[in-house]
Symmetry: C2
């Protein structure tokens, strides 16, 4: 079909992860699907790009005949950049990233490769959505998550998105979904607790572990929605300016010291 | 001195880069300095964290006796997390990151390891500032940049910063600085132009290159300030919620489809 929507799919768990397979199946119903995803897991890569080594891009047959798919040796952001420059011949109508194995709610968005693929798409002017299921298991049940993808992806294709805005969609691990709630990012952080070990050569090494600390008691946050059985939809921007802080910093009169 | 400020220093160009040496010299005048920085260049790492392999942390003597310094095998965000959990015994009074060899203005903040170290500090509740000089050369002249560090770091120690806010400071490559301007992040992007090559085994590979595209004609942006000879100071937040977009997305009635 000449006018069918063109849909770019990526993720950060790697092109062989179960979550991206579910996502491809969902959006195949909406248009022509092209996949460009990492050839290995890239969780926690944030918005990293690869500048000190070259990238590989290899066509693979993983999603059936109708789906053009490439694995890339880079980060999720690299995948989207390569898709734009080397794979797609026009701007896609939608970019979806995921379905991530594990939550990307609240502060986790900053560390998330799934969301960096979506954000890179939004920077390129695409309508972009990242989907994450709150279940790290590779055997996770994606039935409910697939239903949320169906509803949100169709709504974004139909309604568009405000300029320079993407969506961060998280789906709780529940048997029955209460609903889909538009939320703000909860204020939270990870309290580090590195696991210190000694290697066979008597040298210390550290594994990053930590505890998620919620500092936000609002009922309008993604954490609240997820904790109460709803999927969360957070509209996200990549203008990081803290506009509300400009007045106080202007009062410092920095120029008097120059 | 028991009550002197405790200052954490990191960067993304690596602990041996000239820029971090200049930064340490600047802030040594303000208090007790502790350095935790990557053992190799980490440019473009965005807010990546290391979860699939363990980290090393090794004490080094690079900045003289008074400065406790560690090199870390991880990303800039890892460095700050390790500093908090394993090196520092109290919350530092200031975190400074850089001085980066190259600009982190506008959209570059998203890809920047320098700024991710500062942002990780801000998430931890520290007063945090990232400094970048618009000169990629290792032989860059940091005289002007050091002056800006002196002024801004002292002002942050004196005035504090609004909650959950950090500063992105960029310094132009000019002989005489016009001033220091508090700005918003300019709307811009990189237009990808991957350099496609063939390896000795006849397989394609790609180097990421691109062209910076300014899409913002405002005179209140970091790009404008830098282009007119001023240093730019952008207050930055890590709540990425696009609050202005919530109304339109709420109008979609997503729950009717669940």
């Amino acid at each position: 079909m000449a006018n069918e929507p063109l849909i770019l799919v990526s993720n950060d768990d790697g092109i062989t992860a179960p979550g991206i397979k579910v996502l491809v199946e969902c959006v195949k119903k909406l248009g022509k699907v092209v996949v460009v995803a990492p050839d290995s897991p890239q969780s926690g890569m944030g918005h990293a790009i690869t500048i000190n080594k070259p990238l590989r891009l290899v066509e693979v047959d993983l999603f059936g005949e109708e789906v053009l798919a490439y694995q890339c040796s880079g980060t999720p952001a690299d995948c989207v950049k390569l898709a734009v420059d080397k794979v797609l011949h026009r701007q896609p109508d939608l970019l979806v990233s995921g379905i991530n194995h594990g939550s990307n709610s609240s502060i986790n968005i900053l560390y998330s490769g799934t969301m960096s693929a979506a954000m890179e798409g939004a920077i390129e002017g695409m309508k972009a959505v990242g989907f994450s299921l709150m279940d790290y298991s590779y055997e996770a049940d994606f039935t409910m998550a697939a239903h949320v993808v169906d509803v949100v992806a169709a709504a974004v294709l139909k309604n568009g998105l405000p300029a320079d805005t993407l969506l961060n969609v998280n789906i709780p691990k529940v048997d029955e979904l209460k609903g889909i709630k538009v939320c703000r990012q909860a204020r939270a952080k990870w309290k580090e607790d590195f696991d210190e070990r000694i290697d066979p050569y008597k040298r210390k090494y550290y594994w990053l572990t930590g505890k998620f600390v919620q500092m936000d008691h609002g009922e309008d946050t993604d954490e609240w929605a997820l904790g109460h059985g709803s999927a969360s939809v957070v509209p996200v921007q990549f203008d990081l300016t803290a506009h509300h802080a400009m007045g106080s910093i202007n009062s410092w009169d920095l120029n008097e010291k120059i």
